[in-house]
């Protein structure tokens, strides 16, 4: 692997486990172990362990941290309770998305997880725009995700009490004797957890989790197909600095009070789009036949003009058919609309489909006793 590719705490462990390593977001990361299809289906039926230590973990503190963050994020942070998570968007002045992230109120501050490829830019942007806050990059911490219907059963054995968490709630737990910050959240559409812990303990915890026959290691390949089935956008593909939360169909992340009051970067444009509708919109699609239509394919109208672009596409292991996400003119965004897609000179017939493609299985209320 090239010298400029950094290694994460579990690098050697992935190799021992048979992970096929590829450069991703500047790090060597496992794209697959036994195969994307098998790993994907394992997560949908049991529990999969993902190493997502490339992601940026930040601790943001300072006087009025919630109000200050609300100038760049359109979410309701002031009323976010301790140990509660919110999916949000870091916005630029034009209302474009600098990154998507998870923000958790953690005592006096906010624990924020941002994308690996964008983390350094995010930190610089936050420091520039919010100089009154302290932005700590928790570089020495690893991040693991345990996802799937049996994740709770597997994790409860090592970290007693985690089954009490509900979706989008977090807290401090001891896992196999290690202090960790664990949230009930993820990027697969399944029930599951994300575990922030010291990088020096990552191998111990990964080993302990893998010792359970319910758990298998899962690579980035299945992470991508799982999030696609769950209808979850991927930054740098479905989201970028030119795309607004409204066009990206992420208006759920703009809470009611924020819609009324504004006060976030790009407010004018975003509120106008909420009122009048966006020009383009992110929607899901399915394709006739078996051939995947991938990122970069064009949407053509009857005259052959480009009226949209595929931003994610692949073969759904759960549904055994090609699915994807596309930005199309709003007039073409209704579920059931037929789209003509062009990829490498070949035309495909696609249909706008509701997302998620595979239903979410989040645990929203109470502990699940079995």
């Amino acid at each position: 692997m090239a010298d400029d590719v950094l290694t994460l705490p579990l690098d050697a462990w992935h190799r021992t486990r048979g992970g096929r390593m590829v450069p991703f977001a500047g790090y060597g990361m496992p794209v697959q172990y036994e195969g994307i299809m098998a790993e994907h289906l394992w997560v949908r039926t049991s529990a999969g362990l993902f190493d997502v230590s490339h992601m940026g973990q930040l601790l943001i503190t300072g006087e009025g941290v919630d109000r200050a963050l609300e100038t760049l994020l359109p979410g309701e942070l002031q009323k976010l309770g301790d140990g509660r998570l919110r999916y949000s968007l870091l916005l630029n002045e034009a209302g474009g998305i600098v990154d998507d992230l998870m923000a958790t109120r953690q005592g006096e501050g906010f624990y924020v997880v941002v994308n690996g490829a964008t983390k350094h830019g995010d930190i610089a942007y936050l420091r520039e725009k919010l100089p009154q806050l302290q932005i700590d990059y928790l570089e020495e911490r690893a991040l693991l995700a345990l996802q799937g219907p049996k994740a709770v059963e597997a994790l409860e054995k090592l970290a007693p009490g985690v089954s009490e968490l509900v979706f989008m709630q977090a807290g401090r737990f001891s896992i196999d004797g290690i202090d960790a910050w664990i949230s009930r959240s993820g990027y697969t559409g399944e029930d599951g957890f994300e575990i922030s812990l010291p990088g020096t303990a990552a191998e111990q915890i990964a080993e302990a989790l893998l010792a359970d026959p319910l758990v298998k290691p899962i690579g980035l390949g299945a992470r991508d197909s799982l999030r696609l089935e769950a209808g979850l956008p991927l930054y740098g593909h479905d989201l970028d600095e030119q795309t607004t939360p409204v066009a990206a169909d992420l208006t759920f992340a703009i809470n009611k009070r924020r819609k009324e009051e504004g006060g976030f970067a790009g407010t004018e444009r975003i509120l106008a789009e909420l009122r009048d509708g966006p020009i383009n919109k992110r929607v899901g699609f399915t394709v006739e036949g078996r051939q995947p239509v991938r990122e970069g394919a064009r949407v053509l109208d009857g005259e052959g003009n480009e009226v949209g672009k595929v931003t994610s596409g692949g073969f759904s292991p759960s549904l055994q058919q090609p699915i994807g996400m596309v930005f199309v003119a709003s007039a073409l965004s209704e579920v059931g609309t037929t789209l003509t897609l062009e990829q490498r000179g070949k035309l495909f017939t696609a249909t706008v489909a509701p997302m998620p493609f595979v239903p979410h299985h989040y645990v929203r209320k109470g502990a699940q006793k079995s």
Binding site: V31, G221, P292
Partner: protein, 123 residues
Amino acid sequence: MSLYFTKEHEWIRVEGDTATVGISNHAQQALGDIVFAEAPQAGRQLKKGEEAAVVESVKAASDVYSPVSGEVVETNDAIAEEPALINTDPEGEGWFFKLKLADPAELDGLMDEGAYREWSSNL
């Protein structure tokens, strides 16, 4: 019967003036789970090195090039219906198409099995 390979990881098995073409075990491993395959239809004239077929895994799309020139005489419909055959038996049941050789001399530039296995194991 002779078996040859290309640096693009196609194999070609020659019997008389007919050749069967597919992708190597090394190629299917690199691609991972194959979900789609499209082989050329009988009657199509292929030139050596021309894009002849498409194979797609969960991860990526890849072209299959014709190792030699000739006319397609048979298509393996089984791989369209069951693309995973290319994973499970890439150099057998997972063949793509058969063609009638236009110029047997084109085989001279291809690798034999031993040379290919050694070369591909070092990739």
